[in-house]
């Protein structure tokens, strides 16, 4: 009887922490989204974050996009060759990049680079009492720190995804002309024809949703950092891990919606 009560209490304690974290995350999301329409708007902070998140991530996104296109073209060509359909390489590269690889790989790169950056920056501010100082000096930290990061990520991630998609297609083109000896016009024609509005919609909705996750998870773990520099490290790791896990879960959910519509 006593053991059972102890187990119940232990279970309750174990559940309390994640439930509380989810509640805090939902509250942070609500506040950050509401602040988009509220004054004051920190325009300079948004531009600074756009530069850090967007321009700063560009080389990484270009590299990842290029090589994912190259690899896709090589792998698909090998499979298609068995059916004598090598000329369809552009089609497969295009669809896989726009629907899945472009948004997901770009989001993962952004999670690794920016969720961690946000968590460590805000975490350092938290443990050095700069967040408290901000509140003491008349500023809402969510308005000043979280909302600009959310807005900047939502603006930059779809743009970076589009760039990654195009660079990936370009990588596929290099393989198509250099190793598969396909005519350039044929490759680009199959790339273009393969895409439907549904693919483009799916390819743009995903980065927008991922942007919300990446920025808010980074800020969330940053703002709840405790325990000095060790805590900052822990918050950074948790932010990246959860951002990546949630990107895959949400990707599966969005894909299911589009597949469910019978459009894919």
């Amino acid at each position: 009887m006593v053991a059972s009560e102890f187990e119940d209490e232990l279970l309750l304690d174990l559940l309390k922490e994640p439930v509380l974290a989810v509640q805090e995350f939902i509250l942070l999301t609500g506040d950050a989204l509401r602040n988009i329409l509220r004054r004051p708007h920190y325009g300079a902070d948004i531009i600074l974050q756009m530069d850090t998140i967007g321009v700063g991530s560009l080389p990484l996104v270009v590299l990842v996009g290029l090589f994912s296109g190259v690899v896709m073209a090589l792998q698909m060509a090998r499979a298609l060759n068995q059916y004598g359909q090598v000329e369809k390489t552009g089609t497969l590269v295009s669809i896989t990049l726009v629907r899945e690889l472009g948004p997901v790989l770009t989001a993962i790169m952004m999670a690794g680079r920016n969720s961690s950056g946000m968590a460590s920056e805000l975490g350092s501010m938290k443990v050095t009492e700069q967040i408290d100082a901000m509140r003491a000096l008349g500023t809402d930290p969510i308005q000043k720190l979280v909302t600009p990061r959310l807005e900047a990520t939502c603006l930059m991630l779809p743009l970076l995804t589009i760039i990654a998609d195009f660079v990936g297609m370009f990588g596929g083109w290099i393989i198509a002309i250099a190793f598969l000896h396909l005519p350039s016009r044929q490759y680009w024609s199959s790339v273009w024809r393969a895409l439907e509005w549904n693919d483009v919609t799916q390819g743009l909705i995903k980065p927008l949703v991922f942007a919300v996750l990446i920025s808010l998870i980074g800020c969330f773990y940053g703002l709840r950092t405790t325990g000095g520099t060790q805590g900052v490290g822990r918050a950074t790791t948790q932010a990246v891990v959860w951002a990546v896990v949630l990107i895959f879960i949400v990707d599966a959910m969005i894909t299911k919606v589009f597949v469910g519509q019978g459009a894919s």
Binding site: T128, E129, D132, A133, A136, L137, D140
Partner: protein, 276 residues
Amino acid sequence: MPSESRTPILRFDNVTVSFDEVKVLADVSFAAYESESRVILGAAGSGKTVLLKTALGLIRPASGKVYAFGQDLSGLREDQLFDVRSKIGMLFQEGALFDSLNIEENVAYPLINQKSIHCPPEQVHPRVVEALEFVELGETLEKFPSELSGGMRRRAAIARAVVTGPPLTLYDSPTAGLDPITAHTIVTLLIKERDMANTTTLLATHRYQDGNLIANFRYNSEQGSLEPARDGAGPRARTTFMVMQEGRLAFEGDQDQLEDSTDPYITKFVKRRIRK
């Protein structure tokens, strides 16, 4: 002076603060009046910082009431608290200067962001310069916090805390981790601010000598240094000592009562003076 007949600037009524069901402030009650100095002594983890942050409305009590300038802080939303906070200057433990802003921007921050201050833009720079000259850091406007020494950062943080001329100032361990000379300079600045602006001061510290200076010295503006206060209505009469022990208020009284205490915990913080 019958302080009870006046309205306190800050009042704690049976305030309890808990983190993860651990009480970090337990049933704390006191009242601070205009021009009064309160020295809060206590070991690390005794609740000094939590007490100051609760006074500022940064931490909400689990039970009890906190009144600042007659307003019950527990009933206010975060945006409503900004008005109350604009009347309170706070020096955080390590200064908490924004490391992405230079010293001028740091000190200007409350003037620009605290809406109830209503500081015209053309007055921001002169007031920042004045506040930095007050702490003798007039040449550091363009520097970033990382370019300053620990003592200079603490002085810049004092400038930021007092630039708006708040009637209540809270200092959280302002001398922690500083050498004795720098620590003396910092306490001198606190006394200078208290005596020149006639502010109510709450000083959390583990160093008895800081409290002793606050209680027994005043700032001589002509000489630019501290001098012993001899008159009966001086800082000594207006200084109350509090001792925190594991979240509880273990002692509240004047310096003589503190030094007469035989409580083993309290005596750890007290160096008895030679009384005349």
